[in-house]
Subunit: 421 residues, 2 copies
């Protein structure tokens, strides 16, 4: 047996896991402030559900982990939360609309590995099912802004609307049969730059004049208002740009970027993508959009609009790790060192715990210097010494590990002191 | 495509998921009060790690989900957290001992389905690695007691020590070669009763006198103290019973049950198992024990003692569901109904949110009665009406959905009122 993890998977020791749970709790908190309730669907889904023709699309299916149960049923590991959400809604017609739910957990893709890309990764998804109004997209945009504010990550949330892109292509005279393909090329703008996008469009046989016009329109600079103004004049089909204007009235902090396309085929209106600023990490830290067709297809072709946003926990934590200098190594606040008083020390430890203080007591009969070394390495802020001397005086000796200051105090005073920090 | 879940898996809609997360948070809180820090290992593990000969044992391996990645590497879905913990410790020699960690998440077993038994289930594991002292087992016993107290589940945490069982078998004159097999039969006592256990031991060829003596010793009744006293007189090998006595001094709330055996082969000392009282659910809601050999085997046969306890979240939630009458359907506290004032209502909603109140605003332009119906079905406690009349008066109309009482108040008063609840 080789002592190895499965390829593309990660372990998180406590230093990193404490940070990950803090981030997860912050995101959960924002989702709940916005009135989204949790749901959970399984990791294992039926193969035929995950590969339904209106699901994630060919590219994702190539990366799906597949397996069989002992009854030879074909299964897959979920690759996102959206297809399982569609199944969940379709199987639960009693659910009241709007269905505002969030789900946080692992997803799995057996794809090529790059820095920051794993085969098992954590996503935090928030979706509104049943609302076709821009108001829903605005709520999601505001959530994205709120999450990064809460996490103190300088970030930009970019927004566009597929209908704006369509109108641009129409205006530029691109053949309708080429739209999907052209949009997938435009999606690469941020990564490849204008020149490469131009070349790719030429290679795809798009008319030179049309390319020039497309490039001109998706390169508009300026404030949100200025960009909207230019496009309102330039475009014949106004539906998309009007939706953009409406969204900006409710979610003014997002950035309208009419070159944003996003790779996924199932988006039908708004698309959004978030990036960290002042960070070495250039990949997106979240993204989403409107997908009005997918859920209805699972329900037998009923119209069931939906819009969602997904936060990539791993990438977000990578961004935060650039800034964090001292990782918390342990959740413990007070470490108690018994000096031949284990039973009494355990009582003090239990009293701290019942007062809501995370407390640990030496279980290994280590000597004082080894115990101090442990507390130090674990970055535990307070150590308590408890020997017969202290026992007689009905006091404990508290050491502040940062300042080195020691004082003899009662357990009651200890509780008060630590609680007030 | 059939709209179905994979066999043996569950969906959790918000009503159930809110409860599950509350339970998970309570358990996490107790773990942290006891100074255990979180870690995470992946769902996917290498097949050879999961099937190592010192790992979970044959019975579990029969139920393992196996798969391959695209590089044809053999993988499995984890069936518990203990084997991955052993791998984690072995791969991270820098980790300070004692290593006190917890892990909460899904495990997977492709086994037969029974009521309350699923192929994908959530476990909350807490383990101490590196401590051979009874003090570690006592901490785990106290955690088990604390968790059920926190969750308000009347429960008994039973405890025994494999060394006590061995001493009983020795005393009764059972051949050493039969010990493991006899212990597996004793493990069925609670389920099958004394008569069946006797029959099974006879069938296994155990000497009749020995059976009578075993039955007599494992049937001892009385308080913990009384049972310890009887066994201290009856047993020649005192090691186990002395450990039991020591543990009871530090963890007096557990019940010493010298018939408790537990199925798993890897336990080397204490075993524990918890059951809900006054519940229809008779299967255990948690269990654990000492396994001093497993982790060291992964480290190349170093001695590395360990002890752990695992809570079964699904069963615990099943127990709680027997008592809960009104499930929370939504996390939302205030639902705002705009009456032709969406933009201003959104501002009020955002103000509530930035004051820490979970708030939702109608996104679908429903009429008042449909909105009230939605709030009602979702058991949202407060509704706010906000029309032009209220806008002019710089007030909102708050309705307490329980009492039906309505009042015209400022947003500031609204925040104060809801926050104080």
């Amino acid at each position: 047996m080789e002592l190895k993890r499965a390829k593309g998977t990660q372990d998180f020791l406590s230093n990193e896991m404490i940070l990950r749970l803090e981030v997860e709790d912050s995101i959960r908190n924002i989702f709940e402030l916005y009135g989204f309730s949790p749901v959970e669907t399984p990791v294992l889904e039926r193969f035929d559900v995950l590969t339904a023709k209106f699901a994630g699309g060919e590219e994702i299916l190539k990366e799906m982990f597949t397996l069989q149960d002992q009854g030879k049923r074909k299964l897959g590991l979920r690759y996102d939360f959206t297809v399982p959400l569609a199944r969940l809604v379709a199987m639960n017609p009693q659910v009241k609309l709007p269905f505002k739910r969030y789900q946080i957990g692992k997803n799995f893709r057996d794809g090529p590995l790059k820095p920051g890309r794993y085969r098992e990764f954590t996503q935090c998804d928030v979706d509104i099912v049943g609302v076709s109004s821009v108001k829903a997209d605005a709520e999601l945009a505001n959530i994205a802004v709120a999450v990064f504010k809460e996490l103190k990550i300088p970030a930009v949330v970019k927004m566009n609307n597929r209908k704006v892109l369509d109108a641009i292509l129409e205006e530029a005279g691109v053949k309708k049969s080429q739209w999907v393909s052209v949009i997938l090329t435009i999606d690469k703008l941020a990564k490849l730059g204008l020149a490469s996008v131009k070349k790719e469009l030429q290679a795809k046989g798009v008319d030179a004049k049309a390319i020039a016009k497309v490039i001109k329109l998706i390169s508009i600079k300026g404030s949100n208002k200025e960009k909207v103004k230019v496009l309102k004049t330039a475009l014949k089909n106004q539906e998309g740009i009007k939706e953009v204007e409406e969204l900006l009235a409710f979610a003014p902090r997002v950035e309208f970027d009419c070159s944003l396309a996003r790779g996924l085929v199932y988006y039908t209106g708004f698309v959004m993508e978030a990036f960290a600023l002042k960070s070495k990490i250039s990949s997106s830290i979240g993204g989403g959009g409107r997908y009005d067709d997918m859920i209805g297809s699972f329900k037998g072709n009923i119209f069931c609009p939906a819009s969602g946003f997904s936060f990539g926990l791993d990438t977000i934590v990578d961004v935060l790790k650039e800034k964090v200098k001292n990782f918390k190594q342990s959740v413990t606040t007070v470490f108690i060192i018994p000096i031949k008083t284990f039973k009494e020390s355990l009582q003090v430890t239990q009293e701290l715990r019942s007062n809501g203080i995370n407390a640990e007591v030496d279980l290994m009969d280590k000597n004082i210097s080894k115990n101090l070394d442990y507390a130090n390495k674990k970055s535990i802020p307070f150590v308590v010494f408890f020997g017969n001397d202290e026992l007689k005086k009905k006091r404990v000796k508290l050491r502040d590990m940062k300042s080195g200051k020691e004082e003899l105090i009662t357990v009651k005073e200890l509780i008060k002191k630590v609680t007030n920090l």
